[in-house]
C-alpha cells in the first residue's frame, strides 16, 4: 500500500512481511529505526512466530543468525559502518557456510575519524566476503529488494546484503508502496534449508578443510555467485509479475542509448545524477546513466553491454580505496577494458558530504570539455588541503593526507 513513510519503517514493514523467524538487534546509527520498528512488531505480536534478540554486539548479532539459519530459521538483522566491521569475521563465516541470512546495511562511513554519516566504505570492506550485495537507488527499491533478497538467499543458500544509504534513504519520509503481506506470501515460499541441524539426520557443519580441498570449496562458491547472475534478473522479473513494478535486477540503464558519456554509480546518488543528466540531455548532450544494483556478484556482461556505446565513463563513488582510487571503477574498467573508452573516477559524498546536482553538473561540464582528471574528488576544499600541506612542510615527512594521495596519483581535483 502506498504511504508517506520513513524509509527505515518501510523496510521494517517489508522485512516483517517476509516473516523472519529470528531477528537480532544491536543499535548503530543510522540503522536503528529499522530494528526498533521490527522489535515493536514482534512485541506487539503482529510479527509472530519470531524471536527478537537484543544481542551484546554486532559480532554476536551475525553469530546468532548463523546459528539460527543453520537450525533452519529465516534470519535477519541490520547494521552499518563500524558494526559491519565488528561482525566481519562472522560475515565471512556466514557466506562460507552457505547460510541464507539477510542483512540490511545502512551505509555509513568508517572511522577514524569517527563519522556517522553516509558513504559506501562499509559495503566495500566486505565486497570479497562471498555475500550477495544489492544497492538500493530509492526507498521503494530498498523495500522491494528485501523481498527479493530472502528469495535469492534461500534459493542460492547464500547470504544477501541489501545496501541503502544511511540517513539519505533510511531517514527520508517519502511515498512508498510497502509490499502487502498477501503479495509477499505469494512471492516468498517458506524457507527450505539446504542443510539443517536436526537430531534426526545429524551432520557436522563447519569442518576444517585443508589444502587438498580448500581451493575447490572457494571455486564452487564463485560458481554459486555466477549462478546468482542468472537468478537475480529472474527473481526481479517474478517480482514485477507479482507486484507490478520494476525493482532490483543486475543494472539499470537510463538514457544510455547512443550515449557517449555514461555516469555509473551505486545507490541513492543516482537520483541527483539523473536530474543533472536530464538537464544536459535537454541541452543536447549524449549522456546517460548506469545504476549498478548488483555489486556482488558483479555483472560484467550487463555492464559491458550498457557501456557499449560509451566513449567516456564517469564512475561516481561514495567510497575510496586509500592509496589506490576507485573501487567500483576498478570493476567497471575490468568490464570495459577492451572498449577503448576513457574512465574517470569521481569520489563524492564521503562521510555524508552532500552530493549536489549543482556540483555534479559542474563536474559533467568539465568532462564534456575533456577537462576531467582520471581521479576527481568532488567538492574537495583545496584551501584546507593546501594549508594542511603547507603546515607540515619542513616539520616532518609529509603525511598521506588526501591531497598527498592525489599528488601521488598525479591528478588534481575537479568540480566546484
Amino acid at each position: 500500500m502506498l504511504q508517506q513513510v520513513e524509509g527505515s519503517r518501510a523496510v521494517a514493514q517489508t522485512v516483517a512481511a517476509c516473516r523472519p523467524e529470528v531477528v537480532c538487534a544491536y543499535p548503530i546509527s543510522p540503522q536503528t529505526h529499522i530494528i526498533e520498528a521490527l522489535g515493536a512488531s514482534v512485541k506487539s505480536g503482529s510479527l509472530s512466530p519470531c524471536e527478537f534478540i537484543n544481542v551484546e554486539s554486532e559480532f554476536a548479532a551475525m553469530s546468532v543468525l548463523i546459528g539460527a539459519s543453520a537450525a533452519g530459521a529465516r534470519a535477519y538483522t541490520a547494521t552499518a559502518s563500524q558494526g559491519l566491521l565488528f561482525m566481519i569475521e562472522a560475515v565471512y563465516n556466514a557466506a562460507g557456510l552457505g547460510l541464507p541470512v539477510v542483512m540490511t546495511l545502512a551505509n555509513r562511513a568508517i572511522g577514524a575519524p569517527i563519522n556517522i554519516w553516509n558513504d559506501h566504505s562499509d559495503a566495500m570492506s566486505v565486497r570479497d566476503s562471498g555475500w550477495i550485495q544489492l544497492f538500493a537507488e530509492t526507498n521503494q527499491e530498498a523495500a522491494d529488494l528485501h523481498v527479493q533478497a530472502f528469495s535469492l538467499a534461500e534459493q542460492l543458500s547464500l547470504p544477501v546484503m541489501v545496501c541503502m544509504d544511511g540517513y539519505i534513504l533510511t531517514h527520508a519520509v517519502e511515498g512508498i508502496d510497502v509490499p502487502a503481506q498477501s503479495d509477499v506470501d505469494a512471492f516468498l515460499p517458506a524457507y527450505q534449508p539446504r542443510q539443517v541441524l536436526d537430531p534426526d539426520t545429524p551432520i557436522s557443519i563447519g569442518a576444517m578443510v585443508g589444502p587438498e580441498a580448500f581451493e575447490e570449496v572457494r571455486y564452487l562458491a564463485h560458481l554459486r555467485q555466477l549462478d546468482a547472475l542468472q537468478l537475480i534478473p529472474a527473481v526481479s522479473e517474478e517480482f514485477e509479475a507479482q507486484f507490478g513494478r520494476q525493482s532490483g535486477g543486475l543494472v539499470r540503464a537510463y538514457r544510455t542509448e547512443d550515449a557517449e558519456t555514461v555516469v555509473v554509480a551505486l545507490g541513492s546518488v543516482l537520483g541527483s545524477i539523473k536530474d543533472a543528466v536530464d538537464i544536459r540531455r535537454e541541452a543536447g548532450e549524449r549522456i546517460g546513466v548506469l545504476g549498478v544494483t548488483s555489486f556482488r556478484p558483479f555483472p560484467f556482461e550487463a555492464v559491458r553491454q550498457a557501456l557499449a556505446t560509451a566513449r567516456r565513463i564517469i564512475v561516481v563513488e561514495r567510497a575510496f580505496s586509500i592509496g589506490f582510487g576507485g573501487v567500483l571503477s576498478t570493476d567497471v574498467s575490468m568490464a570495459t577494458h577492451d572498449g577503448g573508452s576513457r574512465l574517470h573516477t569521481v569520489v563524492a559524498g564521503l562521510g555524508g558530504r552532500p552530493v549536489t546536482s549543482r556540483s555534479l553538473d559542474a563536474m559533467l561540464a568539465r568532462a564534456a570539455l575533456d577537462d576531467l582528471d582520471p581521479l576527481v574528488f568532488l567538492d574537495l576544499d583545496r584551501d584546507v588541503v593546501k594549508r594542511e600541506r603547507a603546515r607540515l612542510v619542513g616539520t616532518r615527512p609529509p603525511e598521506p593526507t588526501a591531497d598527498g594521495v592525489v599528488g601521488w596519483l598525479g591528478t588534481a581535483s575537479g568540480g566546484g
Binding site: Q3, Q4, E6, S29, P30, I116, W117, N118, T138, D165, G166, Y167, I168, L169, H171, A172, V173, E174, G175, S268, V269, L270, G271, S272, K274, D275, G352, P354, V355, T356, S357, R358
Partner: protein
Amino acid sequence: MFQVRIHGRGGQGVVTAAELLSVAAFIEGRHAQAFPSFGSERMGAPIVSFCRIDDHPIRAHEPVIEPDGLIIQDVTLLHQVDLFSGLTPEGYVLVNTPRSVDELGLGSLVGRFHPGRLASCPATQIAQEQLGRPLPNAALLGAFSALTGAVSLDALATAIRQRYPGEVGERNVVAAAAASRAIEPSPSELSRAAAG
C-alpha cells in the same frame, strides 16, 4: 518543485513539521519528501529539516540549498544562524513570534524579498491556548499553508489527525486553523504559481 527548510532547535519537532508537511502534500496526491539534517545534534541545538513537494516523482535526495519557503520555529535563532541562505527572491518566510516582522528588525530583508511573503505568527501562544503546551508545529504549518498555499488546510488537518489520533489531533487542527486565519491576506494564487 516547492522546497521548504525548517529551522528550530532539537526537541521542538522540527523533523515532525517537515514530515507533516510532506504527508499533507502526499494526501493531496502530490509527491513529497521530508528529511532531517542528518547529524547527532542534541536537544536544544539549532537544527534544520527539509521538505520537497512536486507534481513529479522526486529523485534527488540532497539537502535543500535554495528553499522556496522558510519556517523559523525559534525566533532566538534569527541572529545566530544564517537562516536565509539560498532563499529565492520569491521565497516565503514564516517566523514563530507574537511580534510583527518590523518589530523583529528584519527590515533589511523586506527589500531583498517579495513583500507580503514575510509573515510572523504567534504559534507558541496559539498552541498554549489550544493545547495547553508550547508545541507550535501545527499552528505554524497552518499559518504556512495560509501564507504559501503549498498544501491545503484540509490536507494538513488530515495529516495532523493521522499523526495524532483523537483529542490531541483535534486540538492541533483547531490550532492550525486559528493560525491560518491569523495570516492575512493569503496570497495563495501567487504562491501556487511560484510552487508550480
